[in-house]
Amino acid sequence: MEEREPAKTTATKGTDAARKIRAMVKNIYKSCHEAQSQGKKVAYIMVSSQYDEILRAMDIVPLPTENYAGLCAAKRDMDRFLTKAEEDGYSQVLCSYARIGLGFDSLRKELGGMPENAPDGGMPLPDIILGSSGVCDPRFKWFQACGRFMTAPTYSIDVMHPPVHCDLNAVRDHYVQYQKVQFEGLIAFLEKQTGKPLNKDRLWETIRLGDEAWRLWYESDRLRTAKPCVMPSQDHFNVMVPAYYYSGTQEAVDYFQDLVDEVKYKVENKLAVVPDEKYRILYGGGLPPWHTMWFFNYFESFGAVFVIENQYRGFDPVEVPDHVKDPVEYLAWRAFLRYTARHEQAKANSGNPVVEKILDLIQDYDIDGVFFHACRSCRATTIGQIHTKNMLGRYSDLPMTQFVSDMVDLRDYSEAQWKAQIHAFLDAMASRKK
């Protein structure tokens, strides 16, 4: 097959739904600017903090700083922010999302206004800063450091992460109660900032919308088990936008309903991503290389499609017990059930929930090879990858590979190395199929 030399950083998408995302991303930043002009509060937020529906219920407009870093990388306009942060003394080994965010904030302060031609109009100064311990430590250390550049009040919550080898029945009440207290502290802080009490009926409504959007997202992924693949991973890395940044809104529900309808139609009509699907690849983990997303298309030019991911859609739908009548308690229960969903399965098998999930995906999606992306500045998604890969090797003879670069810092990427590795990986999958 002929090699296709890409001329852009982004990937060609497979679905119309994924093509709509660019406008939704632009709208995130536009709506923040508009919200402030209407007197609404805008908050720097971290995804996966489990507090999205609370913010929506309190009319607080989320401003996702990590997403902004990814946006800068996709537009290859990250160097001025990275170097600004490094000039300020932040080490190159720190999270590159944080470096872009801090560099942006530093530059905005130094200039006394928005950096010229900032992607999508730039991030406005937030009114509130909301960190969390969910996923990694930069999620609160980064926002602590923001104090150098702004005076917005900051609040961080702890997000539970129960260990695998515990008796869930014994620890459940403790974790649920602990998480509830965390949310209550956040709500008290937000009520003080907004001057308005939380309306719990409104919170129930945003929770219903949030759950429905994530259920539909799950449904679309289950449809993707069909062969040939109709929705590739580059689309997934777009459709995470409404799930995370529009969570708790009708817009997100409508978006995912459209996605389900489109994927269903494509499956029924076998509208494949590539006409001659040879290899089905699982994106096994690691943040995607936002600076070079065309690599998905490079694989496709050899008949290899990324069909599913162990990244971003971290949770399947969960059933919170009916006896839970308080929406804040519901959020605490939901967090507990999400974070322990594969604990029992792991205890009975490999002992590792991530390995269990990947093994399930390998079987359900008829996978030919597993790809991991090690991001040099993202410890949270990179540490443990080799361990996971080696553990998987005990249960599967599939070829697995780890590519190294970074989610946004292009200096950690080598095109020649990636291409050499891509061809070796293709050969390994071909060898196994012979």
Binding site: G393, P399, Q417, A420, A424, D427, S431, K434
Partner: protein, 263 residues
């Protein structure tokens, strides 16, 4: 040359050297090596012409060509492209059928691969974007010590007290080596220190891969007996080295041309 014999060529167009091998029934008939010199096209023509001449055949006698390496995209011949790791694996396997782990220390990257009993790739890792784990590191140090590459191995084996490099960066290691020379350190001790730094990187890669014996080391750097010995010590296993380690990928390419019309 019999009329029924079919000949195949493998071209390995690497960043430092271009290599060609001609095979017949997977037996090496001829080989040639030439510096790539930034012009893969000319280097490929040169080594292929030379190996064809050695084999006593013409281009028209070739039944197939496989090209590999960083420069494979610049090949002027009708050649199938195969990844260099697959070619290394097959080349090492042809020479050592017991091989299950391959280490290739090239000019830019170090690669480690596990292969199956048919010589096919099972799993592999490539070194990070860092010169310390590559053959370039040796070239840098050889230049400042003013010694020939081929003298590195024998000289380093004489070392009694290897220099401890405090850095993992080839550029800083260069200045560190200069400092050690100024302090009077022996060349062999500096070279042995370089080998230790490289072996540390290489063994980390191989151990991550869950290596299995036999281990074969290929690539130009495996001509350095000192490096081979240091890596063997670091991984705790004996390492087999082909007689002509620079041409194993080209040999594998030629073998793949013979038995895989469509990889």
């Amino acid at each position: 040359m019999s009329m029924s014999d079919k000949y195949f060529a493998g071209l390995d167009m690497g960043s430092a050297f271009t290599k060609a091998v001609v095979t017949c029934n997977k037996k090496m008939m001829a080989s040639a090596v030439s510096p790539s010199g930034g012009n893969y096209l000319n280097a490929a023509r040169r080594v292929l012409d030379e190996s064809l001449s050695q084999a006593g055949i013409g281009f028209e006698n070739l039944a197939g060509i496989v090209a590999t390496g960083l420069g494979a995209g610049n090949c002027a011949f009708e050649a199938r492209k195969v990844s260099d790791l697959s070619c290394q694996a097959m080349g090492c396997f042809c020479l050592f059928p017991s091989a299950r782990t391959i280490i290739d220390i090239g000019g830019q990257f170090t690669k480690a691969a596990r292969i199956n009993p048919e010589g096919r790739l099972l799993d592999f890792l490539i070194s990070e974007k860092c010169a310390t784990g590559s053959g370039r590191f040796l070239q840098i140090i050889a230049r400042i010590l003013q010694i020939n590459i081929e003298d590195i191995g024998p000289l380093s084996l004489k070392s009694q007290t290897p220099v401890e490099f405090s850095t993992n960066c080839a550029v800083f290691a260069e200045s560190e080596a200069i400092s050690r020379i100024a302090e009077g350190a022996a060349k062999e001790d500096i070279l042995a220190g370089v080998h230790r730094a490289m072996a540390s990187k290489v063994s980390m890669l191989v151990k991550r891969l869950k290596m299995e014996p036999d281990i074969v080391m290929s690539g130009g750097s495996s001509q350095d007996a000192g490096l081979v010995a240091t890596v063997a010590q670091a991984v705790g296993m004996e390492i087999l080295v082909p007689e002509k380690p620079m041409i194993t990928a080209a040999l594998g390419a030629a073998c793949l041309a013979e038995d895989e019309p469509d990889i």
